[in-house]
Amino acid sequence: MTSFPLQISRPIHPTGIWNWITTIDHKRIGILYGVTAFILFIIGGIEAMLMRSQLASSNMKLINPELYNQLFTMHGTTMIFLAIMPMGAAFFNYLIPLQIGARDVAFPRLNAFSYWTFLAGAIILNASWFLGGAPNAGWFGYAPITGKAYNVGHGIDFWIVSLQVLGIASLAAAFNFIVTIINMRAPGMTFSRLPVFTWMSFITAILLVLAFPVITVALIELMFDRFYGTNFFITSAGGNPVLWQHLFWVFGHPEVYILILPAMGIVSEILPTFSKKPLFGYPVVILSGIIIAFMGWMVWSHHMFTVGLGPVANSVFALTTMAIAIPTGVKIFNWLATLWKGSLTLNTPMLYAIGFILTFTIGGISGVMHSQAASDAQQQDTYFIVAHIHYVLFGGSLIAILGGIYYWFPKFSGRMYNETLGKLGFYSFFIAMNITFFPMHFTGLNGMPRRIYTYSSEFGWDFWNLISTIGVFLLAAAMIIFIYNIVSSWINGEKAPADPWDARTLEWSIPSPPPEYNFAVIPTVEHRDDWWEKKMQNKTSEEISSGDIHLPQPSYWPFVVSIGLLIAAFGLIYNIPVAILGTAITMIGVYAWSFEPVNDPD
C-alpha cells in the first residue's frame, strides 16, 4: 500500500475518555448525543425559569431587559437546536441500525463527526454568555434588528456562526441516516416492513437535507451584512426585512416537522407494544407522515399573517395550513384505534405516549385556530402563541422523547428503571406542564404580547402569570424526579432482559444492552413487526455467530475535523487568520480521514 503523510493507525482505546472521543459505535454516539442534549435541555430550562421568575408579577426588577432578551433568544435557540433536535438524533443513532437489523450506520466516522460538530456548535453558542453577551434578537432573528446598526456586540455573530456549524452537523447526520436506511436494511426489511420510528426518522432526515440549506443562505447573507458590509437586510440601503422572514420560515416550518415527526415515530412504537396490537393502519400513518412533510413546505407564511402580505396570500396560506390538520388528525385517530380493544399496560412510557395524544391535540387545535389569518391577527405575537408552541414542542416532541427514554431505557442501559418513580414523575410532569402552559392561553387572549420583560399591573395579567411561574417550578421538580430515576436506575437498577416489554421490533431480539456488533447474525425479516411474529411462531432460537464479524474501527479524525470547525468559527468572529488556521485543521483532518488505514483484523 502506498504511504501518505499523516497516515496514523486507528486508535485502540478499549476504555476511558479516549474511547469515547474516538468511538464510532452508533450506540455510544447515540448516548453522547442524548446526554449532551439533556444537559443543554437543563440549561435551556434554567433560562426559562429565570424568565418566568421575572414575569411572576407585574413590574418585577429581577432581570434587566437586555438580559431578558438574551434569555429568551437563548432559550428558544437552545431548546430547538441544542435540545430537542439532538435528542431526536440520539434516538436515530441508537435505534435506526437496531431497528433495521444493521451493525452500524452507513458512515460511522461521519456519524462521530456529526456529534462532535453539534457539540462544537453548542459550545460556540453558549460561549457568548462569557464573551460579551448572548444573542438578543430572538431565535427567529428578524431583520433588521440583527444588523450592526441596532446590534453592535458579538452576540448575533455567535448566533449566526453557531447555527451554521450546527447546520453542518445536522446535514451530515441526515445524509448518513438516509443512506443507512436505504442501504443497510437487513434482508427482507422492505420499506413496507420498516418500523414506524425509522420511517419517521427517514422523512425527518429528508426534511433536514432540504430545509437546512435555506437557513444557511439566510445566515450567510446576514453574516455578510455584519462582517463584510453587504446590504441584504440593511433597510437604510433599501434591503427588505421581509426577505429574511420568508427564508427563515421556509426553513422554520419544515423545522417544526423535523421536531415533531420523530416524536410521532416514538409514540407509534410505544402504543402498539403496550396494547399488544400492531399499529392500526400502518400505511396510512406512514403516508400521513409523508404528506405532513410535503405540505410542511407550503405553509410557511402562516408565521407571517401580520406582515402585510395581503388578503390573497393570507387566504392561500390559511387554507394550506388548515389542510395540514387532516393528516395530523388521521394520525391521532389511528393511534386511538391502535389502543382500541387492546390489552393496555399503563406503565411509564405508555403514560407519556397517551399524554402526548392529549397535549398534542390541544396544540393541534390551537394550531388550527392560528391558521385563521383574520383572528390570528389578535393572537400573533401574544402568549396564546407561546402556549401553542409549548403544547406542540413540550407537550408534543419533548413528552414523546421522555416516554421514548423510558421505553428504550432497558435497551440502552441494560437495566430497568423504577416504575413507581417513573409514574410519579409522569403525573407530576403532566400536571405541572399544564399549570405552566395552559394559563398562557388566557394571558394571550387578554392581550399580553410575547417577548416583553415586564408588564404593568393595570393589564390584569398578574394572576395567570403567577400561576405559570409556579407551574415552571413544579415542572423543574418533576424533571428532578425524572433525572433521579434515570441516573439511579442506570447505576444500580435491576438487570434488564432482552425483551422486557414483549415488544415487536428487532431491537428487542438482541441482548440489553446490545453487544458492540448488535446482531450476532444479521436477521432475515419476513414480516412487519418481525420480532413479534417470530415470537408468535416460536421461531426465536438463538443463532450463533460464525465469529467473523467485521466492525468499523475507531478514529481520531472526526474529532479533529470538528475541532477545526470550532476554531474556524471563533476565528470568523474575532480574527480571520484564526479562521484560516481552523479551516486548515479541518482540511488536514479530512485528508487524513480519507487515507486512514484499517488495522489488521487480528
Binding site: G138, Y142, T306, A374, S375
Partner: protein, 360 residues
C-alpha cells in the same frame, strides 16, 4: 304519545345541559380574560375585532368539541381495555380501510366548513366595505424605538403616542417604521399589523364607542419593547374636529416665570432638548428625533403610553429616563443624561415640568 313526550323532555334536558355547559365555559373564558382588562380581545368595541372574535369562537367551539371527544375516547380506552392477568393476546387488527376513509373525510368536511368563514373574514378585515361611514380619514403611524409617531397628513399635524379618531367611522392607518420592526395593535378594535421598514402596510379600524383604548407594540423591537405602548382616543366627530383645531394652534402662551425658566432650559445648549423635539411656534425647537411636544400637556400619558401625564411621573422621567425606559435615545444622546453635561438640578426639573405642563 307518552314515548314522544319523554323523548322531547329528554332532548329539552339535553339542550338545557348543553346550554348550561356552554354558559359555564364562556364564563370561565370571560373570568380568565376579563373583558374589563384594557387589552382583552373579548371586549370587542369595533367591527374588525368583533369579526375576529366571531371567527375565534367558531374555531374555539369546534376545537373544544373535538378535544372533548378525543379525551373521552382516551379515557374510555384506559378504563375499558386495561390488561388483566390471564388476558389472551388481543386480536391483531392491522387496519380497516372503511374506518380510515371515514376519519380522513370527516376532518376534510370540518376543514372545508371552516374555510368558508375563514377566507370571508380575511377579506372583510382587509378593507371596509360600503356599509361603513368613511370620511377617508388617513393617519400615518410610524414606529420608532420605542414610541409611536402619528401624522394626520390632511391636517398637517404631527403628534406622538396618542392618536385621536372619530367614532363610528372607518379610519385607515398607514404603517411605517423608522428603524426595526414594530407592530400596531389596539386589541379592543383590531388585530395587529406589523410596521416594516421599506414596506407600506396599512390597517383599518373603527371604534363604536368613545373611550381611551390601549395600544401595544406587538413585534419584538429591542430593549424597551415591553414599554412601547400608545393610547387611541376615540371621540365624537365634533370633539375630534375641535381637537384637530386645537392641536394646530401654537401651544406656547404661558407667562408663568417658572415655566419661562423651563423653556430657557429646554432651548439651552446645555440641555439641548430642542435639538430632538419640535414645539410648534418656537423658532428653535424643530428636532424630529424625539416625540413632537407641541401640545404635550393635552396628552393623558407620555413616554409611549406608559406613564400618566402628571407632575410626579414627569419628575421621575426627567430625573433618570433610562430607569423608566431602558436604552431610550434621550438617555443615550442627551448630554445631561449621558454625563457629557451637568445633570439637571431638582429646581431645573421643576422648571421643565412647569414648561411642559404649560404646553396645553
Amino acid at each position: 304519545m307518552f314515548n314522544l313526550s319523554r323523548k322531547i323532555l329528554f332532548i329539552n334536558k339535553l339542550a338545557k345541559t348543553k346550554f348550561l355547559l356552554m354558559a359555564f365555559i364562556t364564563l370561565i373564558l370571560t373570568i380568565s380574560c376579563s373583558s374589563k382588562d384594557p387589552q382583552s380581545t373579548f371586549d370587542t368595541l369595533g367591527p374588525v375585532s368583533r369579526l375576529q372574535l366571531e371567527l375565534f369562537y367558531i374555531l374555539f367551539w369546534v376545537g373544544l368539541i373535538i378535544f372533548i371527544l378525543i379525551t373521552a375516547v382516551v379515557l374510555y380506552i384506559i378504563l375499558k381495555y386495561r390488561a388483566k392477568s390471564g388476558d389472551p393476546i388481543p386480536e391483531q387488527i392491522h387496519g380497516n380501510t372503511k374506518l380510515e376513509i371515514i376519519w380522513t373525510i370527516l376532518p376534510i368536511i370540518i376543514i372545508v366548513a371552516i374555510a368558508v368563514p375563514s377566507v370571508q373574514a380575511i377579506f372583510a378585515s382587509s378593507k371596509p366595505d360600503n356599509s361603513f361611514t368613511n370620511n377617508d380619514l388617513t393617519i400615518n403611524a410610524t414606529g420608532k424605538q420605542w414610541w409611536f409617531e402619528f401624522e394626520y397628513p390632511e391636517y398637517g399635524l404631527i403628534t406622538a403616542n396618542e392618536v385621536h379618531i372619530p367614532i363610528g367611522e372607518a379610519v385607515t392607518i398607514k404603517l411605517h417604521s423608522k428603524d426595526v420592526l414594530h407592530s400596531f395593535w389596539v386589541p379592543k378594535l383590531a388585530g395587529k399589523v406589523d410596521m416594516v421598514p421599506n414596506n407600506n402596510n396599512h390597517l383599518w379600524l373603527q371604534a363604536d364607542e368613545p373611550g381611551i383604548y390601549y395600544g401595544h407594540c406587538a413585534e419584538f423591537c429591542g430593549q424597551a419593547h415591553a414599554l412601547m405602548r400608545f393610547k387611541l382616543i376615540a371621540e365624537t366627530r365634533e370633539e375630534f374636529e375641535a381637537w384637530i383645531i386645537h392641536q394646530k394652534t401654537n401651544a406656547w402662551t404661558t407667562t408663568d416665570p417658572l415655566a419661562q425658566q423651563g423653556m430657557e432650559i429646554f432651548m439651552s445648549r446645555e440641555a439641548g432638548c430642542y435639538a430632538c423635539h419640535t414645539i410648534q411656534g418656537t423658532d428653535k425647537a424643530k428636532g424630529n428625533q424625539g416625540p413632537n411636544l407641541t401640545h404635550f400637556a393635552s396628552r393623558t400619558h407620555f413616554a409611549a403610553g406608559i406613564l400618566e401625564n402628571n407632575q410626579a411621573n414627569l419628575r421621575e422621567w426627567l430625573k433618570d429616563p433610562n430607569k423608566v425606559k431602558p436604552g431610550n435615545l434621550m438617555a443615550k444622546n442627551a448630554g445631561i443624561y449621558n454625563g457629557t453635561a451637568d445633570e439637571l438640578t431638582d429646581n431645573e426639573i421643576s422648571a421643565l415640568i412647569a414648561f411642559l405642563r404649560g404646553l396645553q
